[in-house]
């Protein structure tokens, strides 16, 4: 017998968790001597009431969709992939190598090739910790953390010693050729009327949306997805049913790494148009918050990504117009992770008890 109705599990509890996180954030804003209501208004006005704000919000949300889906796919297989940061860094390297390889004739071809490059590099970077987990029993959380740092060192080395064009002092690669320039929302029919030409949101947004659908199909509509979920729920039962743990860990982590890597399409190819240091900017970690909030469901991930996109852009607005630093967003992010992730039982247990009591009274 279920302890509470499904809607309470998927919507009510995350909503309560989120409300607690926001309430505490408001207290934090109040404690540093600012007005939480004014802060919220600044964020809404700067983000939701202007096309430019929407452009940035969608740009950030695109990143978070990729990393959020990445964490979710791994979560379904009971693997905690905390290495999105490193996988996205390596994905960026893949994108840059592809984009710099040819004077691409058209962005469509370049995008296809760059997607493959990003996914491949991200997947390889996730596959090593996955193999170490599956074959050698090395804890995947620790190895993926280590791989984040190793990726940062690799990129730092390549950008300062190998990929830096002659005569340039910046640790960054050469500019990508014009043929690898992705269309932004401004270059598209209808949307072009709304967004101006400086908008950072680009065609990658639609790839992210497609990825949401594909992950949903994979996890809930395919045999492989069923195996992943079965393995995630109970390793012993999955083994008994003939599911190979090695295969599931490898496949789920490779998909996860590929998704993280594809985030670089948005930041490196769509926005900076060259490979720079730290283009990931913590999006790999935000994927954890997004996935927890979205209950590892692609639709939840989509909503959570939009929320975090709003928070990110709103944070920039706050830093611009008020004396609240951008880091407020980091605090909100931490509280969301804490309440929707680690402290979930704090809300869940009383709510479950409430539903049980209601049911008993209804019957009696």
């Amino acid at each position: 017998m279920q302890k509470m109705p499904k809607w309470a599990d998927v919507a009510l509890i995350p909503l309560i968790n989120l409300m607690i996180a926001f309430l505490i954030s408001a207290i934090v804003i109040f404690a540093i001597g600012e007005n939480p209501w004014m802060a919220l208004r600044t964020m809404v006005e700067g983000t939701l009431l202007r096309a430019e704000g929407w452009g940035y919000m969608l740009y950030y949300a695109t990143n978070f969709m990729f990393t959020g889906l990445a964490v979710s796919v791994a979560f379904h297989a009971a693997q905690f992939n905390i290495g999105g940061e490193g996988q996205a860094t390596m994905g960026g390297l893949g994108v840059a190598l592809v984009c710099l390889a040819f004077p691409w004739p058209h962005w469509t071809v370049a995008l296809l090739a760059a997607t493959a490059g990003a996914a491949l590099f991200g997947a390889v970077w996730a596959a090593i910790p996955a193999w170490l987990q599956a074959r050698r029993g090395s804890h995947i959380v620790i190895t993926t953390i280590m791989f984040n740092f190793i990726a940062a060192s690799v990129l730092n080395y390549l950008l300062s010693n190998v990929m830096r064009p002659m005569g340039s002092m910046d640790p960054s690669s050469a500019r990508f050729p014009d043929g690898a320039k992705l269309p932004t929302l401004h270059d598209m029919p209808i949307l072009g009327q709304i967004f101006d030409k400086n908008t950072p949101a680009n065609i990658t947004l639609f790839i992210a949306l497609a990825a949401c659908v594909l992950v949903w199909v994979l996890i809930w509509k395919t045999r492989l997805g069923y195996m992943i979920r079965a393995f995630g729920k109970s390793e012993a039962a999955a083994k008994y049913a003939g599911i190979s743990p090695f295969k599931i860990i490898m496949i789920s982590m490779i998909i996860s790494g590929a998704l993280s890597g594809m985030m670089a399409l948005n930041t490196v190819m769509g926005y900076s148009e060259k490979l720079i240091l730290n283009s990931v900017e913590g999006a790999g970690f935000i994927g954890i918050a997004v996935s927890l909030m979205g209950r590892s469901h692609p639709f939840g991930v989509l909503l959570a990504s939009l929320l975090f996109g709003f928070l990110y852009q709103g944070g920039a607005e706050l830093a611009l117009w008020t004396s609240i630093p951008r880091e407020l967003i980091t605090v909100i992010q931490a509280l969301v992770i804490m309440f929707t992730g680690a402290l979930d039982n704090m809300v869940r247990t009383p709510v479950e008890r409430l539903f049980l009591t209601l049911r008993r009274e209804g019957r009696g």
Partner: protein, 322 residues
């Protein structure tokens, strides 16, 4: 390389290794009790911030140290409540704590001092100054051992000596005291400890609080132990994760923790002093040294060079059978 350079290098190793050592021992208590803690970084960071801020406001490094320990223990209690009381995911709680620390230190620091998250520079009297051990002057003329004593062993701050003292103390606590036996047992088999009539919850909370205490000292060392003179934004810069790596490298044992943290300290010292090392035809770039602790940890974790086996009940919330 002359003897003098070697001593300077070793001195720099100690300076960089001490916060790692404190954080590593901190992690040891928590993880030995079965509570994974990837929030060492965050606790060190809030500790460093409070140490810098309070030492500046009060003019005393000791009050700063107390504040550092206080906030760090508070953060470890949050981790305890999430992972022991509410049986939440310990890794997720650790991630949240790191972000909370990273955001709050800048937010509060900017509001408090308006220096972009930095705390104001500390006067000499507001930070821990080097202590000259007896006879350091007199003995410095003695060949070989004299300079070693005068420059490396003498002239560290009280927090550094405390960190080194914590190694044998931790060894004794872990392997020779009743608390240590119970601590190790609760990390391997909490049900057995429970059956013996000892409270798993209480034991784990104690361990988590010791972790907070040591992380607080580590933070205070970063911000208020000379030559540091105040807190800087994101001051820990991944040291908490290196300490975690050292803990695995040391296979969750206190004496090897000393070796591991000093090795990682030495690697960092070398990478600062010699950015590019020429080895015959190839030059080792600085990034290799920077990544070395992480690569070594992965190799150790993979079990290619000795196997690192974590405490058996690590990461799993304990549910009493009903």
């Amino acid at each position: 390389m002359t003897y003098d350079t070697l001593l300077q290098l070793l001195d720099s190793m100690v300076r960089l290794g001490v916060p790692l050592l404190l954080a590593c021992l901190a992690g040891l208590y928590s993880e030995r009790s079965g509570i994974f803690d990837i929030g060492l970084e965050g606790k060190m960071l809030v500790g460093a911030f409070m140490a810098g801020a309070v030492a500046f406001s009060s003019g005393s490094p000791w009050i700063g140290l107390l504040a550092a320990i206080g906030i760090s223990v508070l953060f470890s209690l949050i981790h305890g409540v999430a992972s022991i009381t509410f049986r939440g995911n310990q890794l997720i709680s650790g991630v949240a704590i790191n972000f909370l620390a990273s955001g709050l230190t800048v937010l509060v620091g900017q509001t408090w001092f308006g220096l972009g998250g930095r705390t104001p520079a500390l006067e000499n009297s507001a930070r821990f100054e080097p202590i000259t051990l007896p006879f350091a002057e007199a003995l410095s003329g003695v060949p070989f051992l004299g300079p070693l004593y005068a420059e490396l062993i003498s002239g560290q701050t009280i927090l550094a000596y405390a960190a080194f003292a914590a190694v044998p103390i931790s060894w004794w606590v872990l392997y020779r005291s009743r608390f240590g036996l119970r601590l190790r047992a609760v990390g391997e088999n909490p049900a057995a400890v429970d059956t013996a009539g000892i409270s798993v919850v209480r034991l784990r909370f104690t361990a988590v609080m010791i972790t907070g205490l040591l992380c607080g000292i580590a933070g205070a060392y970063l911000a208020t132990s000379a030559p540091s003179a105040g807190f800087g934004r994101e001051m820990t810069a991944g040291k908490g994760y290196i300490a975690l790596a050292a803990l695995i490298f040391a296979k969750w044992r206190p004496v090897p923790a000393l070796g591991a943290t000093m090795l990682f300290g030495l690697l960092e010292a070398i990478s600062i002093r010699y950015p590019n090392i020429a080895l015959g035809p190839i030059t080792l770039p600085v990034q290799v040294m920077q990544a070395a602790p992480y690569i070594l940890t992965v190799i150790i974790l993979a079990g290619f060079v000795g196997r690192a086996i974590p405490p058996r009940a690590g990461g799993e919330p304990y549910v009493k059978e009903r």
